[in-house]
Every structure is written in C-alpha cells, then in structure tokens.
C-alpha cells in the first residue's frame, strides 16, 4: 500500500498516545478488589439477570477457582487476581446518541476518534467504557432489515432465547481458566445478529476502553450470522498507562451458518501494562467463510489464538495475524483451525515483529479430523527481529487424522538486513525512516487486507511503535 507514512504521523509524539485518563471518583459503582462469590452475585443482581444467567456465572466462578493458571504460554506469575476490580460502572446510562453519553466519557471517545469514524465509514458503533457499554448505535436501514447490534447485557434482557441457545456453546465455560473467569464476571461486549441473506456492507465497530487502574474488563461478544448473511465486525482497544497492571479477558463466540461470511478485525493497542488474555472462536458451517484479522500492538502480555472450527463441508477459515512486540512486551499470538468436515480449507498467515527486547511468539494449531477428506490448509508464519535483544519463537502444533489432505507449512525468521538499511539510506532515507519502511513492507500483505481506514490506522500504529527504536 502506498500510503504516506510521514503524512500520517505528523504530530505524533513517541509516547503512547492513548495514555490519558479520566478520574474514576464519580463512578456509579466500583466493586472491591478481588473475586468472590459475593462479587459475582452482586454483578448479576445489579444487572437484574434471570436465574439461568446467574447460574452460568456461578458455574464460571467455580471452574475458574478450580483450574490452575496455565504455564504453557506467557508468564502469568505476576498476575494477581486479588488486586483487580472485576466490575466498574462509570455511568448509569447508555446513550443512543453521543449527546446522551456523559461529557467526560464522550470526550474520551472523541479523542479516540470514534464519533468521527462513525460518521465517516461505519454502519454501527458500540463503545464500552470499563465494564459497561455506554453508547450504541446502528444504521436505521439495517435495523429495519432485522439486524441486531447491541451490547450483550441488553441482549440477555431483549433476546434471551438467542443468547441462551448459543452462549457458552462455542467456548464452553470450562474451555480454559480465562474463559471460565469471563463466564463468571462478564459484562458488556457486543451481540450481533445478521438475519439470513442480509449483507452488511460496511463495518460495525466496537471500541473497548479501560480507564481505571487495576481494572478487569471482561466483555462477552456473541455474533450470529445466519445463512447467506454477511458482516464485518471491527474492534479497537486502548487504555491509560498505570504503574500496576490491569486485565482484559474477553470471550468472543461466533456462528456462521451455511454460505454466510463473517470477518472479525481486531486492532489491539492496549497500554503496555495490560494482560490481554482472550478466547475467540468461530464455528463455520457448510460453505461458510470465517476470517479473523488480528492486529496485536499493545499490552504487556497477549495470549490470543482466534480459532475457526469448520464443521460443514466446504467451510473456509482464514486467520491473518500481525503482532508487534516492543520493550517489555510479549505477544503470544497465532490461530487455530480445525477441519471437521470434508473439503474444508484454511489459511493462517502470521507476521510478527519484535524490537527493543520484545518477544513475539507464534502459537498455532492445525487439526484435521478423521473423515475431513479433501481438506486443504496452508500456514505461513514470518518473523522479523529488529535487534539482537529481541526474540521470536514458533510453536506450531499439527494433528492430522485423515490421509486425503493437502497441508502446507512455512516459517521464516529474518532480521532487518544491514544491506536493506544501507540501500534505503543511500537514497536519502534516515535510519528510522528506512526501518519503518522495511517493517511496513513486511506487514504489507496483511495490511492490504484491511479496509482503507484501518490500513491507515495500522500503518500509523506501526510507525508509532517504530519511533525511538533506532538511533
């Protein structure tokens, strides 16, 4: 993409630009630190939930307490579950227009450019601040077609049958410790329902903002794409910098029915003190297409492996993952594809960049079950290491129980070449400009998959990450 990096970054400083914070003194509710049955019950009570949802939460809590903290991935030893507030409500209201949103919070989203993006190129917007969604809108013509785009709390009240039918079926409570935690204390997130045959041609976006220190944000998203329907959902996330850590642990469940298409794009730009431990999984039915586009730039530790289970013949899954690990960051990202039906096909492309001692790991699973004849999969992971202090690892797991398959796997690790830098510098580019150009070229095959606005955003974020990395 020939976007002008220099133009985009005019005025950007080399600090984390989204690190501003608001006061949390006037919040409508703050839970105490730590997780107990009382906290879970209080959340359920405040949300006025039906008994089944309360039971779901309590089962989540029980499972969470039983399961050990995983040790196979990033370092979680400093994550203190007792030092986190599991529920914080900044306001009692949810706006349908930005004028309904309390001024201070609206101001935050203004700074993040959300209302402006909404006017320009989005079909709907959800904005979550701490535990709850403070703003939600959907274009009227889509409402008329039966499209639902709301927060998950509202969905439990207004569409209980749909929520009950699917919630926790794609990612069961006991899937992993953090899915269990989310099941216990979840709040907010998006509920999206696209009726059969309806194609939503421009993206729906959710924006997640953590504001307070030691905050835990646990949104729960459920996306249902009916037969032949189509949607592109985008999420972005930021938080202020604090001296102590916060936790973001979301669960995203997606069902794409026969012939449907869903693309889920994440541009994760958490501050570098956030543990980002997220479970995302989609089920793709016959001839359905599920695409994850996953950009991870921020956080202290991210562990996230978006998954596609292809359960119907001809289903397709694509995972495009970009990870950027800077100083003190570990991006443990990748993807999982499970071929559970014949003639399914998948592709995982992962690009990671590590610099200033950052660590980027690719962790992926490719599984083909017995009987998934004629399935195809291709996995490509490329790592770019910018300096000797940085690190990259690859953990590809492959389980094939069917003979009639075509599987490709390639991995490469490269360093920014001295010759590449010299070549560009001999043409008048500074060392920083040359490095940035090389990095933007490295991720270009993925960035060009993004809609224009997000491609610009991604290049901007990469530029920001690159600043101060040399010289």
């Amino acid at each position: 993409m020939a976007t002008d990096l220099n133009l985009q970054v005019a005025g950007i400083k080399d600090e984390y630009k989204y690190g501003f914070r608001d006061s949390d003194d006037n919040y409508a509710f703050k839970s105490g630190k730590g997780l107990t049955k009382a906290v879970v019950e209080q959340i359920s009570e405040m949300k006025n939930e039906p008994a089944w949802m309360r039971e779901f939460r309590l089962k989540g809590l029980e499972t969470f307490l039983k399961k050990p903290t995983p040790t196979w991935g990033g370092d979680l030893s400093e994550l203190n579950f007792d030092d986190i507030r599991y529920f914080m409500k900044a306001t009692d209201r949810q706006g349908r227009t930005w004028d309904d949103v309390p001024a201070e919070i609206k101001n935050t989203f203004d700074k993040l450019g959300i209302p402006e993006a909404e006017r320009k190129f989005l079909a709907g917007v959800g904005a979550q601040y701490e535990s709850e969604v403070v703003y939600h809108s959907l274009r009227e013509d889509l409402q008329a077609k039966g499209v639902i785009f709301t927060d998950t709390d509202t969905a439990v009240r207004d569409y209980p049958d749909l929520v009950r039918e699917y919630l926790g079926t794609i990612i069961p409570i006991g899937d992993n410790k953090f899915a269990a935690l989310n099941s216990a204390v979840w709040s907010g997130g998006s509920f999206v329902y696209i009726p059969a045959g309806v194609k939503v041609d421009i993206p729906l976006q959710a924006y997640f903002r953590i504001n307070a220190e030691n905050m835990g944000q646990f949104e729960r998203t459920l996306i249902l794409v009916e037969e032949g329907a189509q949607v592109h959902y985008v999420e972005g996330c930021t938080a202020p910098m604090y001296s102590s850590e916060s936790l973001h642990s979301a669960v995203v469940e997606i069902v794409v029915k026969k012939g449907g298409r869903c693309r889920y794009t994440t541009i994760q730009n958490w501050a570098n003190n956030i543990y980002n431990l997220v479970t995302k999984r989609a089920v793709a039915h016959e001839d359905a297409l599920m695409e994850w586009v996953d950009g991870n730039l921020g956080s202290k530790l991210t562990m996230k492996y978006p998954a596609v289970y292809m359960v119907g013949p001809g289903a397709r899954g694509e995972i495009l993952s970009i990870a950027f690990a800077g100083k003190g960051q570990h991006q443990d990202a990748g993807g999982k594809v499970v071929h559970a039906a014949p003639h399914t096909s998948s592709r995982i492309i992962s690009k990671s960049i590590s610099k200033n001692g950052g660590r980027a790991s690719y962790r992926g699973l490719l599984k083909v079950t017995d009987g998934a004849k004629g399935s195809k999969s291709n996995v490509v992971c490329d790592a770019l290491i910018l300096d000797p202090a940085s690190r990259s690892d690859t953990y590809p797991y492959i389980e094939i129980d069917e003979d009639d398959v075509k599987i490709g796997h390639e991995a490469s690790v490269s360093k920014i070449g001295e010759e590449q830098l010299f070549y560009l510098r001999s043409r008048g580019l500074s060392e920083a400009e040359a490095s940035t150009l090389i990095v933007s070229g490295f991720i270009e095959p993925l960035v060009k998959e993004l809609p224009m606005e997000y491609a610009v955003e991604m290049n901007k974020l990469i530029q920001l990450q690159m600043e101060g990395s040399v010289g």
């Binding site: 002008d4 070449g417 010299f422 001999s426 043409r427 400009e433 150009l437 933007s440 270009e444």
Partner: protein, 278 residues
Amino acid sequence: MLMSKVLRIENLRVAIEGKEILRGVDLTIKQGEVHALMGPNGSGKSTLSYALMGHPNYEVTGGSVTIDGEDVLGMEPDERAKAGVFLAFQYPTAIPGVTVANFLRHAVTNVRNPERKEGQDLIPMRDFRKEMRQEMDELGMDHEFARRYLNEGFSGGEKKRAEILQLAMLRPAFAVLDETDSGLDIDAVRIVSEGVNRVSAKHSTGVLVITHYERILTYIKPQFVHILFGGQIVEEGGPELVKQLEAEGYDWIRAKYPEAARLAAELEASQQDQGVGV
C-alpha cells in the same frame, strides 16, 4: 549559471574487516564529466563505490573525500545522498512489500528537500507520479513497474533499469555506476546507458562508470579513464586507454605492477572464499 561542483577523493585508504583494500586512491570528478574506472577483479572497484556511499562495513583508514571542500566521509549515507552522491548498485537489495513508487517518493522528497524534517509532507503525489511515468517511458518501462515491490523478483535487467530510474529521479551531482553493465544483454546495456547519458546531460551529473568490460563505454563515452589495480590507481588517460585494454587485456598492467598484481590475486582469492565483492 550554477557553479559546477567538484568531488575530490584524496589518498583514500579503506579496509574491510581490518584488511586494507584501497591503498591511497586519488580521483577528482567535476560535474558534467564522465570518468571510467576500470580494473580486473579484486582491484578494489566496488570497495571504492561502497566507501563513497558510506557503507558501515567499509572502514576508511586514511585520506579524504570532499565535495567543494566539504567533508563527505563524516556524513551518514542519507546525508551523502542529500549532498548529491548516488550509487547505482551492482546488486540492488530487495525490499519486500515496499513498492517502487512508495520508496521512490520518500527518496525523492528527502533528496530534493534536504532540510525537510521527518513527518513533513512528501512531494505531491500527482507531480511525482507524472514525473516518474515520464522517466519510465524514457527507459521503456511499463507503468505497472511502479507498483511492484522494490527489486523483489526483478530480473537482472529490471534491477538495473530500476537503478537508473532512481538516478533519473534523484538528479544527483555525482553518480557512481557499479558494474551496471554486468549481467545485461547488449540491448539492455544500450537502454541503460542512454538513460545515464540523458540524466547526465540534463542535470550535468558527474559520472563514474565502474566496469571491467569495454562494452558499456561505447555508449557512455568517458573523457577520463582510470585503472584501479591492487587498491591504487595505476594508470590514467583518455579513451585511448580503453582501446588499449580492449586490445591487450590487463596482462601488461600485471607485468608492469607486480606488487599490485600480487595483492590483487590475494584479494580475488579471498573474495571467492567469502563470496563478497571488493
């Protein structure tokens, strides 16, 4: 009238990994002049070009390089480009994912506005594109070429043409062409040479053609010919020197400068061991 600039190389000594390759090179090029630097393998021709451009692996151990008296050796490679030095690489490096156009727009912006700070606007897309297309037409290049990733999967001829396209767009005061003719068929040599001549005539570029074949010099006609051998310039003259080399080869040079011949043979051997050019 613009003052014509002078690039002056005096007693330049350059080492790679502690091993001295150039042992005192003197060469002066005025804008608008065409010089040829010839010599057999291992004589230090590529070392001179890399050292002029400021490659970090080439350590200058003595001497000076100046443009109108201003020190070049203290400059970073990008500062040298802005000061008007251009090197057409023998082996241009591929930059995957970066299009020719995007790269060139950055380069042209920086070189033409040396005072520009990072983050300030690039030259306007419309003007840039128009100019680039004109130059591509002159070089017989398809406009699609601008959208390809820089030097990635380029044929030998495409790489060299891309170098000359950069030369044409950057309009340097001094251009060093490092074996630009190597690996090219006769038509490609002609097209590339015509490009160099055009740029040189238009912008009064001082050209240093590095080659060990005479072929390219039938198209780019040098006024001054220098023979580099064993890290020093051993013979200088006019076009007649090219004729002499064409007729007699380098044997008479080897016979005349036995000490340099010994050094050159040694360097050529180590070059083959390491697979790198000197």
